[in-house]
Symmetry: C2
Subunit: 278 residues, 2 copies
């Protein structure tokens, strides 16, 4: 399964965090998992390819000098994209237990209470659940996909950051995560098409994102990718399934630290269509 | 020599032109040259690599449905970037003669009078003159260059348009024009560095540009290119000379039809420094 949960926190006092606040959220996530199942948390921490993506702080807070200033009375929301059943179950259980017990958890230099974990589709626009086969079956046969990069996105290429949304890197990053985590891999021949995908429209700007001890450049905005002509419908669907997968997996570098958060416009329409009350 | 002239026209009646109006300006330019030296115009028309770049209509006119609506009383300005002495001389003479004689020239479905040709640096921000050796000698030794793409820019790659500002294409396009038109070519080894240049920041959006019988997508906005570390100062200067050359040559596809018009920020500062009254 694939899931996207939105977690809300309440702080015990004022806090400032660099950039997107994602290092503190990353720390909190591991601490919460550790409290529930130390063995699983340790195992996850050692994994090179981690089956989750993590947003920065999604709620609005004042920004000064590259830092978020969060008031003790403010709510903090963030999103987890979860790519395997193995991580969905303990995550839900761990945050659920904390929300009920009101046990505080370390958050940066403060501590926080977990107010809630939204996991039922329909309760929040960013909460969704699907399966890998459903992503493929329900993918559009359109010959293009538009991705909205909502947090700074970049790619590590050798020892430099690549901040162009090159199709081969964007789809390559998604393909790699899919092949690692999906119960059924995609046809490896699909990857040969990525260099043939065209960028047909975009509106993008780079942005510097502050981490505690360094800064990274990424791009934000919207890109339309157009597939090579004469692809059959199943191949177009497989490419669109990768585009839809971006919502859960993120794209590129440091997707477990708030970077590379993506919305897919086609998936938004489709995944929202059946949502209760919307 | 390298020169950038700004030409102003006055129309005899209202006129609508697709997109940037560059096809009509291209036609006018060749008609003016033909009136002065038919042999030279015919020769130039046959050349595959043309030693000029041509802006679209620079003056502001209402736009509707992808067309410019130019009133008979409105002035039209456009810019010519000229890359060799061979074309500078007849261009100056031909437009100069027309400006004095008040002979009308065909402009789209209307006709126009040449009101003036600004060729003396200092008379207009887009009027400049330099030489290839001076471009190199005066180029900055900075390890980066920022190019402002002021009209839609793209690259023809096989049978598709590439609308990403990939360093190898941007610098490759400039290098090719330089090697074709400069009295002294640059070291061919320079071209091996282009793939190592990084895009370090940008703010760009694609835009569809209408021509009479087709449309082309290009990107507009600002890109900073950062050179590989450990380049010596002369190599950095050679790369910056190419960046400065973009003002005259344009970049990429259809630079004789209004596309790929570029300002280089470093060159702007330097080339403006000695300008009278500014």
């Amino acid at each position: 399964m694939l899931a996207s949960f939105v977690i809300s926190l309440k702080l015990d006092r004022d806090l400032t965090l660099p950039g997107l606040g994602a290092e503190a959220l990353h720390g909190l996530f591991f601490e919460v998992l550790r409290g529930y199942d130390a063995g699983f948390a340790a195992h996850l921490h050692r994994e090179v390819d981690k089956p989750f993506s993590l947003s920065g702080v999604l709620t609005e807070h004042p920004k000064r000098d590259g830092r978020l200033h969060i008031g003790a009375d403010g709510r903090v929301e963030f999103r987890l994209g979860l790519l395997t059943d193995d991580i969905i179950e303990p995550t839900l259980a761990a945050f659920g237990a904390l929300a009920m017990s009101a046990t505080p958890v370390r958050f940066g230099s403060a501590s926080a209470h977990v107010e809630g974990i939204a996991f039922q589709p329909g309760t929040h626009p960013l909460v969704r659940a699907t399966t890998y086969p459903a992503l493929v079956q329900k993918a559009s046969p359109d010959a293009r996909a538009t991705l909205q990069f909502v947090s700074p996105t970049s790619f590590r290429a050798g020892d430099v950051q690549d901040v162009l949304p090159r199709p081969e890197r964007v789809f390559g990053s998604l393909f790699e995560a899919w092949q690692t985590f999906a119960p059924l891999p995609l046809d490896p021949a699909l990857a040969e098409l990525f260099a043939l995908i065209r960028v047909s429209a975009y509106e993008l700007r780079t942005e510097l994102i502050h981490f505690a001890r360094y800064k990274v450049i990424g791009f934000k905005g919207r890109v339309t990718y157009t597939y090579p002509r004469d692809l059959n419908a199943p191949t177009r669907q497989a490419l669109n399934a990768l585009a839809d997968f971006a919502f859960f997996a993120g794209v590129g570098y440091k997707t477990t630290m708030g970077m590379g958060q993506v919305l897919s416009e086609a998936a938004d329409r489709r995944l929202s269509a059946g949502r209760a009350g919307r």
